[in-house]
Amino acid sequence: MAFPSLVPTSRSFESGDYPVKTFKAQNGKEHRILYGSNRTNMKLSLSYANITDANAELFLDHFDEVQGTFGTFVIGLDAREGWEGNKDAIGAQTHGNNYRYESPPQVAQVRPGISTVTVNLIGVL
């Protein structure tokens, strides 16, 4: 089962970083060691406000499908709709990452049959 192909109502993206370790010498000079060539740990938060409970259930089903925060998956272009730049820029695959759930989906019931879902994803190598 693929990640639900719904267009979010709000989205925030944090670009992650390259694996860098920083040391400071006694004289104050900074030394940085680059441990890898791929950016990772990008964070994508998607909110789906006022969707039907049936659609909200898709996220819960998918969470089970990938065994919670364990399995990785690819998100479709629907999750990046509305971004008019290069879609890869807010994705994870360009840098060899896949997304996994950073935390379980949060479902808030708004009224009978209508819920708001928030999912937090993190890119991992």
């Binding site: 267009v7 109502t9 406000a49 006022n50 969707i51 709709e81 509305g82 708004v110 009224r111 209508i114």
Partner: protein, 144 residues
């Protein structure tokens, strides 16, 4: 026959009994709208949320010949002794009616009195001003 309604046609009832000396009343219906606009859209869209009813009324503080007051059963929902406060049974059955001869155009609801104010001012008639919040569905709607 064509008819314009005026304040003379308005009636407010409490528990099926017409209240005396009602100066004005107002009933509002409101609907929450839930925004469903997504990131790829330029025009806002909405889904209906929860609907509700509320309103207000003003009554002259009036003592009948038999010594009863027209406002007693309303004011007593908030002005009461004891420490129990307002309970879930402290509702009132309000009917708002616009009369056209023998035709009644009614809206009836169950409500909590959410505010009640009464005072006195030099050179003015004492009025009781109340606000109410409907609970549950309307029991009668015959306005057209």
């Amino acid at each position: 026959m064509a008819k314009v309604y005026t304040g003379r046609d308005g009636v407010m009832q409490l528990g099926g009994t017409t209240l005396a000396k009602v100066v004005n009343f107002q009933l509002s219906s409101n609907l929450e709208t839930l925004e469903t606009t997504t990131l790829s859209e330029n025009i806002r869209s909405y889904s209906p949320g929860v609907a509700g009813y509320s309103g207000s009324a003003t009554l002259l503080y009036y003592k009948e010949d038999d010594g009863t007051f027209n406002t007693t059963d309303i004011l007593n929902k908030l002005y009461k002794t004891g420490t129990d406060g307002v309970s879930s049974s402290d509702t009132v059955e309000l009917t708002f009616r616009w009369v056209d001869g023998t035709d009644n155009n009614d809206i009836k609801l169950t409500a909590y009195i959410t505010s009640a104010s009464i005072g006195a001012a030099t050179g003015d008639i004492v009025r009781a001003e109340i606000a109410f919040q409907g609970t549950g569905a309307l029991s009668t709607v015959t306005i057209s």
